[in-house]
Symmetry: C2
Subunit: 164 residues, 2 copies
DNA sequence: CATCAGATTAAAATAATTCTAAACTTGACA
DNA sequence: TGTCAAGTTTAGAATTATTTTAATCTGATG
C-alpha cells in the first residue's frame, strides 16, 4: 500500500463539464490534489490537463497508450485532441508523473505506477501487468561503460499461453 | 568464444556480383555455410537472402535496423529493396537466426547474437551493446499468470553520460 | 527447359507519432 | 476588471517506420 493514487468516492466520473468548470469540489480534495500535482510539476493546470490527469490517476495503476487515453477521454465526455493527449503524456512523463514503458516497438505505453517495478508482457494481447520491484532481483550488473551512468534497468518478462 | 558466426579471411566483402553469381567459392566454405544455414531454416537460398545473410553473419555480433542493413547492402553493392530487407529480417527472426530487440518504441533492432544475453542501451545515441548472459542475474521471478509460460526475459540497462 | 510456388520489387497504404500555424486560455498586472 | 504576453490546444498536414499490393521474376523440380 505505498501507492499515491487518489481514489475519491462520490464524484462524477470525469468531473469537468464543458459548461461549469471552476467546480466547487465538495470538500476540495480530489481537484486540489491533482491541481497541486500539476502545479508542483510546473505545468499550468488547464482544463484538458486536469481532465487527463484525473483519468490517469484516479483509477489505480494503468498502462496505456495515447490512443487508449484518448478513447477514455471521449467516453468520459472530455473533449481533447489526440495531439494534446500526446503532448500531455510526454509532459507528464518529463515531469515525473508517468513512466514510459518500451515493450512493443510499434506503440508507446505509459505507466501511472511510478514505484520501482517491472512488467509482464502478454505477447498475444499486447497487455501489460506489473511485477512488484521486490519480486525480481537483478543481481550482478556488469560494469557500466566508462563515463556512463545507469538511468534505469528494465526487466520485461514476456509470456504467452502455455501450450503448443 | 562460443559464438557461431562465420568469419572467413580473404573473400570479397559481399561476394555476390550482379553478373556472376554461382561463384565457385574457392574451397567452398563461407558460401556453403550460409547456404546450409538458410536451407536448414527452410528458406530458399536466393541471391538477396544469401547476400543479406553474409552481411549479417560475417561481421561478428551486430545490432541493426532494417534501414541500417539496407544501407549496408547498398554500400556493399548488393541491390535489395527495403521491402526485401524487412521481409528477410522477419524470416530470419522466425527461423531463429536473429533475435528481435525492443528498446526503442520507434524502430526495431535485430541482433545476430542468439546466445542468452542482455543489453546496454545508450539513450543518447540509440546504440546497443551486449551484456553476456552470465553478467546479469534475474533472480526470483514472480509466479507467471495462470496458463502462461515465459517466452523470454529481457533486461535492458539504459545508460547515459554520467554528469548533470 | 517448362512450370509454378515462392521471392522480390516499386509503389501505395497504414499506423503511430510529430509538426505547424492559427485560434484559444491563463495568469499577471495595470 | 481589461489587456496582453506566454503558454496551450487544435485540426490537419507531415513524417517515419513498416506493411501491403500486385506485378514481375527466379529457383527447384519434373
Amino acid at each position: 500500500m505505498t501507492r499515491t493514487s487518489i481514489t475519491p468516492s462520490g464524484i462524477t466520473p470525469s468531473g469537468i463539464t464543458p459548461s461549469d468548470d471552476a467546480a466547487p469540489a465538495a470538500e476540495g480534495r480530489p481537484f486540489s490534489q491533482i491541481l497541486d500535482r500539476l502545479r508542483g510539476a510546473g505545468l499550468r493546470p488547464t482544463r484538458q490537463r486536469m481532465a487527463l490527469a484525473k483519468l490517469l490517476f484516479d483509477g489505480g495503476d494503468r498502462h496505456l497508450t495515447a490512443e487508449m487515453l484518448h478513447a477514455d477521454a471521449q467516453s468520459a465526455n472530455v473533449r481533447v485532441s489526440l495531439a494534446t493527449v500526446y503532448n500531455t503524456l510526454h509532459q507528464f512523463h518529463r515531469a515525473g508523473l508517468l513512466r514510459e514503458i518500451v515493450v512493443d516497438s510499434q506503440r508507446t505505453y505509459f505507466d501511472t505506477n511510478m514505484s520501482d517495478h517491472h512488467h509482464f508482457y502478454f505477447d498475444e494481447t499486447g497487455e501489460l501487468s506489473d511485477i512488484p520491484g521486490d519480486q525480481v532481483e537483478v543481481a550482478a550488473l556488469p560494469p557500466v561503460p566508462d563515463g556512463m551512468a545507469v538511468s534505469r534497468v528494465d526487466v520485461v518478462v514476456r509470456v504467452r499461453p502455455a501450450d503448443a
